[in-house]
Amino acid sequence: MREAREPRYGRAAFLTLLGGGLSSLWWAGKVSGFVSPITSSVSQLLGNLFPVGGWRIYTISGSMPIFDPASWRLEIGGLVERPHAFTYDELLALPRAHQVSDFHCVTGWTVRDVHWGGVRFSHLLDAVRPLPQAKAIRFDSLEFAYNDSLTLEQLRRHDVMLALAMDGKPLTRPHGSPARVVIPEMYGYKGVKWLAKMTLVAHEPTGYWEQLGYDQDAWVGHSNGYGSS
């Protein structure tokens, strides 16, 4: 019989893999950040074959809403002087803004340097004239029951926009066509996709994910268990 004293290479290999894998829960993020220039160029290549591109698409209802330019409206109402329902063409006619910003998801993935095109919220608000008591906006998605909110103060940040285009093309269905909220400093769940309705309110309501325990202010790196807060 060959027993005991022989080297246990198999066990060592198993435990090394296991230990390496478990510890990677701590180091994978750092390594991924370090090698991301390489992996992102690879995923760019792959992205031309399969539309991955680093994005993951989440829905809560299971099917992505379909955008029909003829019937779609962006209703803006609530505490405003002149409620208005914008058509897609009306939105396209507003002054256009462009920006490049990173997109962070609360589940840990990031897409860097996303080119957004769209309109600043100030142009929309100017059209409907918020009342003085309006302090926040509730965003409702065409995807029923998904909603979230931002304060008017947050909405005035320089890089917050209602995006209509991504990487030079109109928003695609997975990315929230025809319009989605973009607030780069916050995690993606604040950026309501397939936007259908904006309601100005006096107090910030609790959104879909917030009711499930996510933070109201989803600052990247300082909320939802990340960072020091």
């Binding site: 066990r11 290999a13 296991l18 894998g21 399969f50 991955v52 299971g62 993935w109 269905r173 996510y214």
Partner: protein, 197 residues
């Protein structure tokens, strides 16, 4: 059922318990890979839709996999499994597996544990934010990539390459042809003969 010579010209390679373990894992892996990719790749997601259903399939398959593995271990022939573990531990190609197969088995075992841990954290992190780590999804993804490559290699040897694909018979019916085993695994056959002679 012990390994060794069975009826003439055939050698028993895998016990019923070992085969059960293999096929439970294989079925769960394929279901999890399929449902996982539909959740992961935007193009597939868009095409399939029905995300909550896929998520349920993914999560319940994972739970069923864990239960089935425990059941096989509890009810099966553990002696045959211990012998296989011994072979893997020695990492010597004197048993039923060559070194590549042994390393594949060891990696598959380790990855199964890592998939289970990271998958559990993904699931539980949605319920308790203290268990949501930035790297969990990354680790689960990387495991998928590596396992997918291993899986493709495994399929190539088991289904396509003519000189090795007879080994599939060992995992489906339990036995392999003696002359094939002599060619592919001479140390194993020699060891069997020295045991019985």
């Amino acid at each position: 059922m012990a390994t060794g010579r069975a009826s003439s010209g055939r050698i028993v390679r895998w016990s019923r318990t070992e085969r059960a373990l293999h096929w439970v894992h294989a079925a769960a892996f394929c279901t999890l890979l399929g449902s996982g990719l539909c959740l992961y790749l935007p193009s597939l997601e868009e095409w399939v839709g029905r995300r909550p259903l896929l998520k349920h399939i993914h999560v319940y398959t994972a739970a069923a996999w864990a239960v089935a593995i425990v059941l096989v271990l509890a009810l099966g022939d553990r002696r045959s499994l211990r012998r296989t573990l011994g072979e893997l531990d020695r990492l010597e190609p004197d048993g039923r597996m060559n070194r590549r197969q042994q390393l594949n088995t060891i990696a598959t075992g380790a990855f199964a544990v890592l998939f289970a841990v990271s998958g559990f954290l993904l699931w539980y992190g949605e319920r308790d934010t203290r268990f949501r780590f930035a790297s969990t999804l990354l680790v689960h993804d990387w495991l998928m990539y590596v396992s997918f490559l291993l899986f493709l290699g495994h399929l190539f040897y088991a289904l396509i390459l003519p000189s090795t694909r007879h080994s599939l018979n060992g995992m489906t019916r339990g036995w392999v042809r003696e002359e094939w085993a002599e060619r592919r695994h001479p140390e194993w056959v020699a060891a069997l003969r020295s045991d019985t002679d």
